[in-house]
């Protein structure tokens, strides 16, 4: 209810200026006295007051371990933790909140699947199909797995503007892969992949489907039932929640058949010296004391975003892209932009390069005028190799991003060029 009160009415376009009031960091100044223009939300989002307060409230009024204490604050802590699970389940329209496993982040969620499902189901010669645009989190765990199990990796290639080539996917499916794993939204190019169609294609070929939703949950409505996938992994800290929070959703039958991953307290039903029995899901996969305050914060973040309405969030970010891309092209025709120019299949991510200036230098000069962007390979080295780019600079949006953030970026690029003596 604190959440409801904080957001704009759920109709009409989002008003980012209203939303910004909920994010205390956005009214801070840099050490040079500049207002913070935060354009690195794809790396980690800022947190609204409601989320910050949820953590503080836990720590100051009912901090206690979950599932354990027969006393008031312990029951309150357990109830809040399990309520957060329901909020997160509702947020991605999971059919059953017991199918939501809390993890530290998307990375751990994917590793959980690779270790638990993968080591049991991937055998010598089995193929896993990924894409050329995967974040390292959805690539390296599968490398380790196929190395150990003697399986193979295949990759769906991309077009030069960063769209998956489904006709090649079609061919790769003839290898009868056991698993197809791909990102919902590319963290580097912004591409929104056709997850429904890809899931259908994979299923028809008999493969299971893991979707890396780290960049989707903050930006587009996600409905795991509509997608039809088998596993969906995401991080809290990119969707307005605290660091240390994240989740894996998977279908109940799969989770029930999978052996445990991490072992310890809470994930067991019965322990003897030499054998144990497992708890039911989701707790079977939550060994030890969880990140209680953080997952509670993730529940609040999910409620906050649902109150805003994820369709409105997506519309807001798309409108901002539609503003930013032409504006950048007009002001800086020499600047290279990457990713699909069709904003109907693109989230609020703008990778770019200023010819003659390394992205690190771009980011450094932009920082001096208060504009925070990312520079480097954004954890997609193979994608950069494919595009033959050593690195890129990247600006990315979230619910609180505004046109004036874009304007600051455009002006910042002018400043970079000035410092480096490049004529506009």
């Amino acid at each position: 209810m604190a959440v409801e009160a904080l957001v704009t009415p759920a109709a009409g376009p989002l008003d980012p200026e209203e939303i910004r009031k909920d994010f205390p960091i956005l009214s801070t100044l840099t050490s040079r006295g500049r207002p913070l223009v935060y354009l690195d939300s794809a790396s980690s989002s800022q947190k609204p007051q409601a989320v910050i307060d949820a953590v503080t409230e836990f720590n100051t009024t009912y901090n206690a371990n979950v599932h354990r204490g027969i006393y008031e604050i312990g029951e309150r802590s357990t109830a809040a933790y399990e309520a957060a699970r329901k909020s997160v389940a509702r947020f991605i329209n999971a059919p059953d909140h017991h199918e939501v496993i809390f993890t530290r982040n998307a990375t751990e969620a994917i590793n959980l699947v690779a270790y638990s499902w993968g080591r049991r189901n991937i055998r010598r010669g089995d193929a896993i199909v990924l894409t050329e645009m995967e974040h390292h989190a959805n690539l390296v765990p599968w490398q380790l797995l196929v190395q150990e199990q003697d399986g193979d990796l295949e990759f769906i290639p991309i077009t030069d503007d960063g769209v998956l080539r489904l006709e090649v996917f079609e061919v790769l499916l003839k290898l009868r892969p056991k698993l197809v794993a791909f990102t919902h939204v590319s963290n580097t190019l912004g591409t929104i992949n056709p997850v429904v169609e890809m899931t259908r294609m994979a299923h028809e070929a008999g493969a299971l489907v893991l979707v890396d939703g780290a960049q989707a949950v903050p930006h587009v409505p996600v409905d795991v039932q509509a997608i039809g996938c088998d596993f969906y992994a995401f991080s809290g800290h990119k969707m307005l929640a605290p660091t240390g929070s994240g989740a894996l959703w998977a279908r109940r039958e799969l989770l029930e058949a999978m052996p445990p991953f991490l072992a310890g307290g809470e994930m067991i039903r019965e322990v003897h010296l030499r054998r144990s029995e497992w708890n039911s899901i989701p707790w079977k996969f939550e060994a030890g004391t969880p990140a209680i305050a953080e997952e509670i914060g993730m529940g609040v973040a999910a409620e906050y975003l649902m109150a805003l309405g994820m369709d409105r969030v997506q519309a807001h970010e798309r409108a901002l892209l539609d503003y930013a891309l032409p504006r950048l092209q007009a002001a800086h025709p020499d600047v290279a932009l990457y990713g699909p120019m069709d904003t109907s299949i693109r989230g609020g991510v703008i990778p770019f390069n200023i010819p003659g200036v390394h992205p690190h230098d771009v980011a450094q000069v932009l920082d001096r005028v208060g504009v925070a962007v990312r520079a480097g390979h954004h954890c997609t080295m193979p994608l950069h190799e494919r595009l033959d780019l050593p690195a890129t600079a990247r600006a990315s949006f979230n619910v609180y991003s505004t046109r004036s953030d874009v304007d600051a970026l455009v002006d910042g690029i002018t400043e970079v060029k000035r410092v480096f003596g490049i004529q506009a």
Partner: protein, 134 residues
Amino acid sequence: MDDLYRDYILEHYRHPHNFGTMEDATASYEGANPLCGDRITLQLRVRAGVLDGVSFTGRGCAISQASASLLTDEVKGKPVDEAAKLSSSDVLDLLGIEISPARLKCALLSLDTLQHALGEGSEGATAHAATGGE
């Protein structure tokens, strides 16, 4: 002040009804909450579709044992199919006290054991409850 430990609950705990074993039982089941160490062995004697005899032994918390005492009272003499229809909320009504989530598993162990004994075992009641671990 104690909603949970009403006199009749403590009375059922200290002097449980239907406590003991039957020589001529036709079905029996041992239910347990390993997480708490609660344990109930239920014996049934079914004659002509009726729960003609019901008894239990066990150890555990007041809630689990009072619940077994109350539930065995309730089903004794009932047709098997009626007993099989008893739900969690029926048992909570029998107890007549407010059960916190942390104690649900204690309260429902007797029902779960009964359902298993009736060959109607459901996974439901053995699912996780918020008790015991660390």
